[in-house]
Symmetry: D2
Subunit: 353 residues, 4 copies
């Protein structure tokens, strides 16, 4: 029932608004004795940080993380790790219009309907800035699962799919794309959207390798259900798939089978349609998740709306925005994958030793 | 951390295996004073019950529910409601081969890897029979949200999409299909799969109307994240979408906008690309979820596998199975929708009065 | 927020009313591979069972437990263990007066104030019969902590304290008393109360030996806080102490010290004022809890009250009651101790490996 | 399973060590629209603040709170409220001896046994400084329950009981004592302990008036169980009683009865032995809790102990300490009472509307 916490054995709570003084995360349940300093977290925040290319919002935030508790002489102590990031480049006056009328597709109306008031500065709590706290927490989670490697990449922008796969390419372009050709095409695509004040959707695929068989649990704690919860909760996400996902609905049982062969320590699989999860439990194969990001609703074309008094209005979102929020979604998807897997590792250890 | 519980304010726990003496659900947190008898639950179980047409498994289970607690003189008392359904048509010997080797695509290997042992009779806890308990719990949840109407229907089987939409049609064919023409086509399609010992996937769409604006909560308790968790946890589900879902990733911000106009009590929307949820909170529009079911892995074609000792083997799943598990998924999707919404109604009331 | 569940990693949910068809517990999160049959549970239920001496209620309940799920070929499978006990000796008509007026000291008025209605038959859900489900769940918990031995004994009835301590004596008298002399005195004491339709309070002390150092966790998951929650939630309990308890408030720091000396594997302690817990974490010493049970409010002396319409009334509790509920509290205190410790063992393993 | 969170519907998480840069609390689930500023919190922190008389530790901490999120234009927004208090008067070198050997009665050994390492500066996370975060969170909770008045007072120090009761007196002496005579006696008593480097225990009683009938819930969410958990988790607490508490174990059913008479809106009670709770649910009477604080283990008399290598040692706790930690426990007990009641109010609203 904690609206702002996630996880069970490894559990984190985030706080903070887009234009408040700071935002942060408290990570609880971290195993003791892990080496942790701000330098372990900062690179992941830097990857998500805005303002690094013309393809993301121009808000300039250093996103410098401070570790305020839970670490002593360079090691985690098992007590809560408090992480804080100060906001430094707020321009709340850009949002004065948002105070009065609802931006369709944004959370403005829903927040007002629920709470009777909202912090309209930069979207307040509903801003994607909150994902910085997830990324910081995710960096801690990675330390809990050194056996796992996680790579998220954008595989589609505005309907244009990447084809090639070179993992080293992901860090070389501003799109987290593993296909150099696609990355080049997307430059033009996203530039066009940006210049015309439009926006584009994207699909992110995330693969975790090294997950041993046995993580997750049946019924209401399924690994895939936890991942679906984690990913669907990211701002702008409208769809989540595991393995073949929706395509599996169009395959026959024969086509969708993942035959098994004797392996060294555990069986080998001849295919991975299942995306590494069966019955809610990891099989030892790579865990594969795909996440659909909608185009941001912040566009320069005026949209019909209503104001707080219920009168007809038009709104055009100024402020500074990502023309394609899905791009910066990649590090966030990676963080949520790490947080889910680290939590599941500890849960598995609790029950099965 | 309860592996077999779901929900927060309205929380249910299920138990039971496919071939054990019984299965059941304990529903906790139900508001007091609601009229409840077995007759309120049975129709939903009957809709999900197998053996009603040749398109589902031929296991004959009456799925008769008993209310063992929490109701006094026909009213809920606010104490836990224990629901029990006896298993009557187990044929465990059909599964003797499953005891020795792993069925690829099933949870057999993953359970063994996690727990070191498994109840192999009919899939044990991983059997879709568990969903009977969800459906029973879902019937209680519906009483908590009389303002909401929920309809799930199969919109696609084996890649063949239904086009028409007549809600009354859903109860008239064995496919929970709102399009009489598609239902007719599917008879042949599913028959073919059944006769050839193959299996088919399906897509189910579920729409909840009457959900007021304001249910759900930001960040890690988003209504869409809760729904994604609920749906991805159903047996055989590999994908979940809200509103436009993956299609939203291919739309521009202009195309995906849901403009608002002044309405009587609250704004009217000119579109519902968002599927009734913004920022994790309901907007007052219909809540729209789509769920992808894979084809069941139980097929008559032999598949390569390994046995418990790690030797190469082949397995062909006999037993009694659904040629398309997605069909009977429709009542389960409805139940999970009801359980999520009822829970969110109570949670909203807790925080916002 | 589950009102009827307890525990975190090992979590159980109970259901059922005093005069309903049955009551039960669902134990979730139990490690797999433990040997479990009904015979492992029944002895603990028998110890708590009423009607075995003239010092407890004369309701005759066999309290026969059935294991409905979670066990396969004699081993726990890691899936939920459903335990059910049928009620066979209800006499609801004894309670017809209770339907109309509130028994002071009982939950009657509070339930009506909260829920607007109540199952008045035998106290419904508020009956101490629910503790049978705890005892059954506790028997499962014991299997999780074979390294721990738990002994609860009544140390005081109606202000008369037991002095001697012979652990073997506990099973020899109907009072769970480790002092044969006190047990003899209590026969007369409780008989007097029973014959005059009065009731007596009691104090139960429970000691768990073999608990290793390191179970529990700081701040809001302290082992002592968990125990306090567990014990204060037992029917009729009004006080909980750890170690010296209230007496510690009257000692000086010097008197209350537990000096430490080098030991073989871990330090030895020269005293145990702390009751085996420091900073919320076990120290390796015996864990010592004391629990105060009030005299049951069911007495034959008429007490002033009001009826459901708010009119003045008098009530005299007929039905069948324990003259000293604290006696049968001993097995319940043991069960709660086992449930807390088993849970903490798994939680410790989750975080610290 | 969150080790550092408390509450269900209104849930708070604390973080921070005694000698780290800061400590804080994140309060989640707070209803929206409540007026909140730092001025609403500071007076409660000031009451708990050390260094205000010679009877508490001489560590000088301003305990200035900052509200970092969750409030907009002076109103709570329903999103998490992050509260931060900076540490300014750490003197870690006082604790160098504590790094090497275990202080008996402190959490030193237990933390090392659990985590393999510990932040020994000022007790790290186990320091009573953490209670500042509780007090800050408690101030927010009070806003949720304006109908309730809470008063905690010290009723006993070192075995010397206060007799008189003048609520206005509580704020007039440094002992939170409602009896001016006792306060005078305690000056000498605590001075003696302080000068001789000894320490004293205390008993705190807390009464909440204005709690309506119906808060709390049966079985494992009992109001008294929640209070027991909350209070037993406060540093140095070893016992918790509700109403008559342990004394109830020495009363007969007749003596312990709380007869009821017709009242205006709800029944009137002629006594309150139960402490305002029956069956785990509030009755409308004042809720009465008593809490036993042990004498702090930090004394100047050398105590036998072992060092980290397991060798025999002696330790004498220097640093700055409270001669009677129970005194400053009073504001902490009040805070926990407020946090439990506010949570229960929201939980009751969730289920019962």
């Amino acid at each position: 029932m904690s609206f702002n916490s996630f996880g069970h054995a490894l559990r984190f709570t985030t706080w903070g608004e887009s234009h408040g003084p700071a935002l942060g995360a408290v990570v609880d349940g971290c195993p003791p004795g892990l080496s942790l300093s701000e330098a372990d977290i900062q690179p992941f925040l830097d990857a998500r940080r805005p303002g690094q290319s013309r393809f993301t919002t121009q808000r300039r935030e250093p996103d410098q993380v401070r570790v305020l508790s839970g670490v002593f002489e360079g090691k985690t102590t098992g007590t809560p790790i408090s992480l804080m990031i100060e906001n430094v480049d707020q321009r709340s006056k850009d949002y004065s219009e948002v105070a009065k009328a609802y931006r369709p597709g944004h959370a403005d109306w829903a927040y007002d309907a629920k709470y009777g008031l909202r912090d309209w500065r930069g979207g307040g709590r509903s801003s994607a800035r909150e994902t910085a706290a997830r990324v910081a927490a995710g960096a801690v989670a990675r330390l809990v699962i050194p056996e796992v490697a996680i790579l998220a990449r954008v595989i589609e922008i505005g309907g244009d799919k990447a084809e090639g796969f070179d993992p080293d390419e992901v860090a070389r372009n501003p799109f987290f794309c593993a296909d150099a050709d696609a990355a080049e095409r997307w430059e033009a695509l996203v530039d066009d959207a940006r210049k015309s004040g439009s926006s584009l959707g994207a699909v992110v695929e995330c693969v975790a390798t090294g997950v041993p068989a046995g993580w997750g649990a049946p019924i209401y704690a399924k690994l895939d259900a936890e991942l679906a919860h984690a990913m669907m909760g990211i701002n702008a996400v409208k769809g989540v798939e595991i393995g073949e996902g929706f395509k599996a609905a169009r395959l026959s049982g024969e086509e969708n089978a993942d035959p098994m062969r004797p392996g060294e320590d555990s069986p080998e699989f001849l295919a991975n349609h299942a995306g590494g999860i069966a019955g809610g439990i990891s099989t030892g194969q790579p865990v594969v998740v795909r996440v659909a990001f909608k185009p941001t609703s912040s566009i320069l074309t005026p949209v019909e709306t209503v104001d707080r008094e219920g009168n007809a209005a038009e709104i055009m979102t100024k402020g500074r925005h990502d023309p394609c929020v899905g791009i910066r979604g990649a590090p966030v998807v990676e963080a949520m994958m790490a947080l889910v897997l680290a939590d599941q590792k500890l849960l598995h250890r609790a029950q099965c030793g």
